[in-house]
Amino acid sequence: MARKITIEPVTRVEGHGKVTIHLDDAHRVTQSRFHIVEFRGFERFVQGRPYWEAPVLVERLCGICPVSHHLAAAKAADVIVGLGLEGLSPTAEKMRRLMHYGQMFQSHALHFFHLCSPDLLFGADADPAIRNVIGVILRHRDLAVRAVLLRKFGQEVILATAGKKIHGTGAIPGGINKNLGPEERDALLRGPAPFNAETMIQWAAEAVEFFKDFHKKNRALVDGFAAFPSNHLSLVRKDGALDFYHGVLRAVDAEGRKVLDDVDYQTYLDHIGEEVRSWSYMKFPYLRRLGKADGWYRVGPLARLNTCDFIPTPLAQKEFEIFKDFTKGRPNNMSLHTHWARLIELLHSGEVIRDLLLDPDLQGTELVRKRKKRREGIGLVEAPRGTLFHHYQIDGHDQITMANLIVSTTNNNEPMNRAVDWVARNVLEGQTEITEGMLNRVEIAIRAYDPCLSCATHALGQMPLAVELYDAGGALLDRRSR
């Protein structure tokens, strides 16, 4: 009897996220798919609005990473007002960088504590009553307290630069609407321990050590779980350095060969295609040069450390060298190493925040520049979960006529499907019963990418997780829910 296993995580309203796994009569996996929320509606939502509203409007996409959308839209608007990054004043560019690295810092800290550490500390087979953030607190109180403060520090950086922790208004077309006052700077740089930049860097370094220690003791799990070859794409600085705010687009294949060689992202449509598949609400981006079948790629922390040549801060660079040595300099294709890469980026973000706070340009007074207006602009940033594309066209009345957004989760659509498929074939195949541990392994694969459900609703009303088993005729065989 053929079986269909349906896992519906995370969503409260139909159609936001679902895993389906099809088994044949011998319980072999014949197909697995990860379906996730439709994103396209928001692009229609911004049409007809003035372009200068876009940086604020798009923040409504997300309460977790609004800064990424804010800055990607602002960068596109910079192009519309006749500037690129090079045209911004030093104060504007550095204030935006500080905002962005604060965002990266708080998001990575949250992911480590909320999603990653329960799995690492308790294992996939642990009782769900223990395998959660409360379990982490009970066993590692210091770790939990630190995670909350790390996130809070990142949010304070955002508050100081964007005016609000959530849905700030700091970036405007051509610049920024405030600089950083000396008191704001000193509160972050020299605040009473532990709430200052140096302590945050130290804690981030210790989080990297925590992961490396876990890795030493759990090599089989960390190295083998959902490992599969892929291309990797991200922005890199023109000299090849890791850069979350600006740069050129680079992609490498699973062997490390450059398959997209540092191109100007204003030409992204020449290099990136988006495939529509009938069974999914979300598109599947690919590198045109490699085609739909082979051109899919990962984005996010793992991809960024695979594409960049070095990290331009000393502590993170040291960790980057250890990370690269592990694969002898070749690209790292192990899904759970995303957590390792994320923590190295947390450390790098802390170092960049400290270095920017020491830069007197943040107290400069030239906030906005504008030149000859254009009708089109494209803005890219590296959001916590990966490369984020914002593309707008406007008419003669400054109203947006076209918007195209490719979010990190869309870029990771195929890799997430591959990760779920790996679990299906390596954990679920041959099984006649779906255990809690098996289900959690599917979730671990998804959690590594932390898909963004930013445009999802957050209403009450549906189970956070439901598992359903169907026979070949579509009859429900079994159902599990949390």
Binding site: R60, I166, A459
Partner: protein
């Protein structure tokens, strides 16, 4: 008594914005000094702070532990019409995404991290249309009025 109202939801998804709409209305009434928001309980003035969040997260544990009483207001897809108000208890839950955290998990986090979880209620307001858009559906707008009445009655019942 310090009362914290946390409205949860995405105002870009029509009725999902009910929690935020309730917060907006409370803040408008606060400015106007309207009863029962401006009432006193015994000799103590009622202090109401109302905030909107797209989704709850770990830092909300710190915010709730400072309050004497917390009301989480959220849209519901299947709950009773027009709205319900029920007491909730701390309970830890597994997270699949950083993009959602249940009120009960926030309370559990507050209890473990800060040693106290305040008395808490969930005000669930029935919504119908969760499509992309900024305005509430007519039925949801009517339910919002009922939810405000329910909230006011609740405040008046506090002793």
């Amino acid at each position: 008594m310090k009362v914290l109202v946390v409205g949860v939801g995405n105002p870009g998804r029509r009725d999902d914005g009910l929690g935020g709409a309730l917060v907006d209305r409370i803040n408008v009434e606060k400015k106007g000094g309207q009863a029962p928001i401006s009432r006193e309980i015994g000799a103590c003035p009622l202090s109401i702070k109302a905030e909107w969040k797209t989704q709850l997260n770990i830092e909300d544990a710190q915010a709730v532990q400072d309050a004497d009483l917390v009301v989480f207001a959220d849209a519901t897809t299947e709950g009773e019409e027009p709205a319900t108000l029920e007491e909730i208890a701390p309970a830890a839950q597994i997270a699949v995404t950083t993009h959602a955290m249940a009120p009960a998990s926030v309370l559990a986090l507050a209890e473990e991290l800060y040693g106290r979880a305040p008395k808490a209620y969930l005000l669930a307001i029935r919504g119908y249309d969760f499509d992309i858009g900024e305005t509430l559906s007519p039925q949801a707008a009517a339910n919002l009025e009922s939810a405000l009445s329910l909230f006011s009655e609740f405040l008046l019942s506090l002793k």
